[in-house]
Symmetry: C2
């Protein structure tokens, strides 16, 4: 039997499916289908979907079921603007408050991230979707700001990162990686460990803006004229 409850299990599975773009925006989430796919009861699925609703990943319409939350270019632009600001707030406070252990964590996660990139992702020059790399990438960025003593900034950052990850994964197969993400990460780490808040802040902005621009200029089926993406982002 599983250690954690079936609800958490399906919640994480569904969250992964939405973030990894296995379930595209606007897709209808039939409870019965999910039941047999995850081998759980409708109750657990409903509960997982309810949590995802408050996470902003799915939309619940009473008596009409659940659908994957829509995305749009405008939403990505707004999201990027907010992310830059919040990430800067976090990194500044982390640089101010961070200790030795924090520095160690940064180097540790960076190392793991780079090693993961070398061994698994680079296939034929194009980026390939890789859950392990995605996890390492998230852990690295988490470590960078983990010394921020204000938990609410970190909370907001976490939510925004999740949403951005969704965009990244969705359009990842269509973009050619021309940047050297590794270099950007290392520069960011260098500035951070030097406690150069202004430089780190600028690098963060560069990093996030470049990522968004790359997605927007890609060949990805990411067009507001596409019927699947037209719906406006609904916020509670």
């Amino acid at each position: 039997m599983s250690k954690q409850s079936r609800t958490l299990q399906t919640y994480q599975a569904l969250k992964f499916d939405v973030l990894s773009a296995r379930y595209l925006p606007g897709r209808k989430l039939i409870i019965e289908n999910i039941c047999e796919e995850q081998c759980v009861s409708p109750g657990a699925v409903r509960e997982a979907l309810a949590r995802l609703t408050s996470d902003g990943l799915v939309i619940a319409e009473p008596q009409k079921g659940f659908t994957v939350a829509p995305v749009s270019i405008a939403d990505l632009q707004d999201l990027t603007e907010v992310r830059i600001d919040v990430e800067q707030k976090c990194i500044r406070r982390a640089i101010r408050d961070g200790d030795i252990e924090w520095e160690g964590q940064i180097l540790s996660t960076l190392h793991q991230l780079n090693k993961t990139l070398e061994t698994t992702v680079l296939e034929g020059g194009k980026l390939v979707f890789c859950p392990i790399w995605a996890e390492k990438h998230a852990q690295f960025h988490d470590a960078l700001v983990s010394a921020c003593s204000n938990l609410w900034w970190l909370n907001l950052r976490s939510r925004l990162f999740m949403q951005a990850e969704r965009y990244r994964w969705m359009t990842l197969p269509y973009v050619e990686e021309k940047r050297f993400v590794v270099k950007e990460h290392e520069a960011l780490v260098a500035a951070t460990l030097d406690r150069d808040a202004d430089l780190a802040s600028a690098l963060v902005e560069d990093h996030l803006q470049k990522t968004a621009d790359l997605l927007l200029s890609s060949d990805a089926p990411f067009d507001d004229t596409d019927e699947r993406y037209t719906k406006a982002v609904k916020l509670t």
Copy 2:
């Protein structure tokens, strides 16, 4: 039969109970009790609690049930700092982008808020908990920033406002209202309609910081030595 589903009904009822401090932080939420109180089935309650979990209002521990999310002085301080920043971002963009209709909405909601205050709340000099005033107050602050074209800023603001409302209502019976909130609101509106972003921004900071300070210096049973409030705020 009710128009909207029972789940939404219980979700809103529970949300109200938590925000209005009927359910104190740390309190255990027995599903069965809620069932008979709200006259609904356990399934609906579970679903509502799941949504509240992602809202950060309740904590879910597998196999151990649900409890009302804890609060603390440190959390209120962090929250206030973040709120000030986010509210400023919103008001600045609203001032930049707002149109005539937006201005009208501000005046309309301000008027309703003041009228509500006169007729209902002032009883014996002390502030009395009043759901209607709380709703009008929220609508007024919503209207102020509603012209902000970046939906993500508004989304974050909405979440932070909700959390702050919880603190305000919880400690409200214990604070004597020495400020003239009406004056502060009117000054804020004046600065906003004059499109004076810097002044409005400063007033916002003043407004929020004063509210937090008032709560922290109140006689409210709001002490980290109290066992009910000691638990750290858990962030997903």
